[in-house]
């Protein structure tokens, strides 16, 4: 799907690249990921704090070089944040804690 934000960025970068000739360490991100399935699962594990060894470097590499990975990472991050902020606030009914303490007292 065409995305104006990306296209504008790509245009700018392309222009810059054209002027500078080819730059090996270009921040250009590829628009296709060669292995979304593997990459996305990896990104999710990193976000879950489960992958430690070499995870940081791998993540930086993906975010720098792959647009689908970049987008997926930020989407997953946003979902986690919204879930945590919006779905954990079920108000505790009045006196529930109190009645549990009472039940324990009685059971002793």
């Amino acid at each position: 799907m065409p995305n104006l934000w990306d296209m504008a960025g790509t245009k700018k970068r392309t222009k810059r690249l054209a002027m500078k000739n080819k730059d090996a360490s270009s921040p250009e991100r590829k628009l296709q990921c060669s292995d979304v399935s593997k990459c996305f699962q990896l990104l999710e594990r990193i976000l879950d704090g489960e992958l430690v060894e070499g995870g940081k470097e791998m993540l930086q590499e993906k975010l720098d070089k792959c647009q689908p990975c970049f987008a997926h990472f930020h989407l997953e991050q946003a979902i986690r944040e919204v879930l945590k902020n919006k779905c954990t606030k079920q108000p505790l009914p009045d006196k529930l804690a109190e009645s549990i303490r009472q039940m324990i007292q009685d059971a002793r």
């Binding site: 799907m1 594990r45 979902i79 919006k86 505790l92 039940m103 324990i104």
Partner: protein
């Protein structure tokens, strides 16, 4: 249970553990119970029952280990044993839904690739809550444990009594299903459709 002979806690120790290590988790416990049962009274009963069991079996809790995970495991087992049975809501997994996702590996990303972080951030809260509630209970549970409560994979595997590999793939499927539902909301909000982008 380990073969180590469990000591018995004194009455005073029991009070210290109960008040100091169990009670602080009551908000998370209630939130979990409510998201499993969708009913305030059932959630209340479930939490009460869990705490009663926790007290009764307090000697099998090892002080200094993760009390929250231990409590969540009791709550989840109580839910399966009591509430799932009497619940009128169909709580079994929607197999068509599961099958679609189990049989597709790369395909599933295409369906959510046009959901963007920005549109998720703009959601008010009801959408995400509804999307979560819409998931079959097994998928809903892993999202709650992982994203709402921040349990590690290892802790979740123990809470649910499943191998870590199963946990990992269930969580991944759950996330894809959730994104799919969110995509529906995002579209109805006017995001993600070609003709509405300018």
């Amino acid at each position: 249970m380990s073969e180590v002979h469990r000591r018995k806690y004194s009455q005073e120790e029991r009070s210290v553990i109960f008040d100091g290590e169990f009670m602080p988790h009551i908000d998370s416990m209630y939130n979990f119970a409510f998201r499993l049962t969708f009913d305030e009274d059932d959630a209340k009963d479930l939490v009460q029952e869990t705490y009663m069991k926790a007290f009764r079996f307090i000697n099998s809790f090892e002080q200094g280990t993760n009390a929250k995970a231990w409590l969540f495991r009791i709550l989840k087992n109580s839910f399966i044993n009591d509430y799932r049975k009497k619940s009128k809501k169909p709580v079994t997994v929607d197999y068509q839904e599961v099958e679609t996702f189990y049989n597709s590996d790369d395909v599933d990303y295409q369906s959510t690739s046009d959901l963007r972080a920005e549109s998720v951030k703009d959601m008010l809260g009801d959408e995400i809550s509804n999307a979560l509630n819409d998931l079959a209970v097994d998928f809903r549970t892993v999202i709650i444990l992982a994203d709402l409560e921040g349990f590690t994979y290892e802790e979740m595997a123990k809470i649910l009594d499943i191998p870590i590999g199963t946990l990992r793939s269930r969580l991944h499927r759950a996330r894809n299903l959730l994104k799919d539902k969110l995509k529906g909301y995002a579209q109805s909000m006017g995001y993600g459709r070609d003709e509405e982008e300018n």
